[in-house]
């Protein structure tokens, strides 16, 4: 891994609006073939970061390198290989879906057949000749996605691409995105404010809160952060607490439930045995796994540090 070059890399990226650092010292690394989930609550600075990645706004500090090139120096060469969908999809309502893509195709200078291809990829072929003002929000979102794929990009940057889609549509788009690296050799950066949305597609996750990157690693590493707890329900919790504390296990109580940090299997067997030997009636033993969403919420609340 050492001194490898990244497909996209930012260094100390900072953007200031009216004296507030909306994005603060962001260092983001994206490897080829990855699907990078860029997570953060509303207002965290995702869109602002993405605008800087595309050179739409100028950072106050820091730099962006894409395909090994400096964005400020070789912006056009870089943009040739990037497809993007930023914030709400943009479209001309008085034109048909196909004509909307045609306005972009002329500039991207790809063959006309590419329009048919991308329309099929997002399953919009049937609506292609209808004016976009007749489209539903989900169809517009698909059209935006089709537009981002038009130039056969090496890197696809999608800002909340499943915004406004129904659950079935979300799954469909997620499936499409998931296939992109293997099928077309694309690398994807995908932003969202919902962990569940990228959980199933992302290979790497970056979490941004209040403009700062608070976590960036493989999604498995995030999963390991999931804290597990053990709950035991019994009739006489006071005795139970004493017994457990004599074994060095501190517990919290809720009704007649005792809660403790998760233990290895052998230790659990031992705990239960001790409690039973002490004459207690054990009603339930259960394990609680904090969901990824909980971890994400905890992280972004800024209460817990990593």
């Amino acid at each position: 891994m050492g001194n490898q070059t990244y497909l996209l890399e930012t260094n100390d990226l900072t953007k200031t609006y009216k004296g507030t650092k909306v994005v603060n010292g962001l260092s983001l690394q994206l490897e080829e073939g990855e699907i990078y989930g860029f997570l953060g609550p509303n207002g965290a600075g995702k869109t602002t970061t993405i605008r800087m990645l595309l050179g739409l706004i100028k950072p106050a500090k820091g730099n962006v390198t894409v395909f090994g090139k400096d964005l400020t120096k070789e912006r056009i060469a870089i943009l040739k290989q990037i497809g993007s969908l930023v914030e709400s999809p943009s479209y001309y309502p008085h034109l048909t879906g196909k004509d909307n893509l045609e306005t972009l195709r002329k500039i991207l200078q790809v063959p006309k057949s590419r329009i048919t291809e991308v329309l099929e990829m997002v399953r919009l072929t049937k609506m292609a000749d209808r004016k976009v003002k007749e489209y539903s929000l989900g169809m517009k979102q698909r059209l935006g996605l089709a537009a981002s794929l038009l130039g056969r990009p090496k890197l696809l940057i999608l800002d909340e691409p499943t915004n406004g889609l129904d659950p079935a549509g979300m799954i469909e788009i997620r499936e499409l995105i998931r296939q992109l690296p293997a099928k077309y050799g694309m690398t994807v950066l995908l932003s969202s404010h919902l962990l569940t949305e990228i959980d199933q597609v992302a290979t790497k996750v970056g979490i941004i809160a209040k403009g700062e990157m608070i976590f960036q690693d493989r999604i498995e590493v995030l999963r390991e952060k999931a804290s597990r707890k053990l709950h035991v329900q019994m009739d006489d919790w006071e005795t139970g607490q004493k017994v457990l504390s004599s074994h060095g296990i501190e517990t919290a109580r809720h009704d007649n439930w005792l809660t403790m940090p998760n233990q290895p299997d052998g230790k659990i067997a031992e705990i239960v045995k001790e409690l039973v030997y002490s004459g207690l009636n054990i009603y339930r033993v259960s394990e609680e796994i904090a969901s990824l969403e909980d971890i994400f919420l905890n992280l972004t609340k800024g209460e817990e540090t990593l």
């Binding site: 056009i76 709400s88 943009s90 001309y92 034109l95 002329k106 500039i107 200078q109």
Partner: protein, 236 residues
Amino acid sequence: MMRALIQSDLMKVKKMVWLMMVAFPAGLIGLQAVNYSLRLDHLLGLHDDYWYFLLENVHIFWPTVLVLTLTLIVSLFASVEHETHTWTTLFSLPVNNGKIYLSKLAIILTVLIGSSVLFVIFSLILGLALGFGSDLPLMAASQMSLYTYIAVLPFVFLQFWLSMGFTNQGVALTTGIANAVFIMYAVDLPTWLPWRWPLLMDGITSGAPDIFYGLGTGAALMVITLIHLTRKDVAA
């Protein structure tokens, strides 16, 4: 690349633009047709050269109408992109930012030329209909139209900057309409003020000095406008 950009922009043009290109000069000539038909004898008695006098008459309100036309057309071109936040998509394309604006500017300037040419054609048709004879004042009519066009260039770039640079079209439209109205009262202004230039006060076939002011100021405004627009953040 400019060709591709222009073709792409042409696809997005709203029909209203073409309508305005034709309707404004047609409307103005229509009014003069009414004017002439109501008091033909009186008007013919005012000047020996019927054709030249007709051109002077149709030209009186042409600067105002042209500034009104360009204000609305520029705003239409800008709102096509503002309304649905397509600037972001446009500027994410592998194209020099300046070219995106230049393409729109080229089309706008061409539409205004179209309007100016139609204005000449409609004027000549009116003269023919009034029976001024087939000795058409092609040269004078073309000079009148061309000089006015050049003299309003500063307003084109001012409107371009206001309309493209700011999402809210209120400021651009108010400024443009105010300028259009103000031109009607600019007769007594000093020669160096832009509202006076399109009036061609030294005669409709005499461009100097107005077109030189117009060209110089126009070029300066164009450079400033393009520099500002291409450097600003694309935030919508």
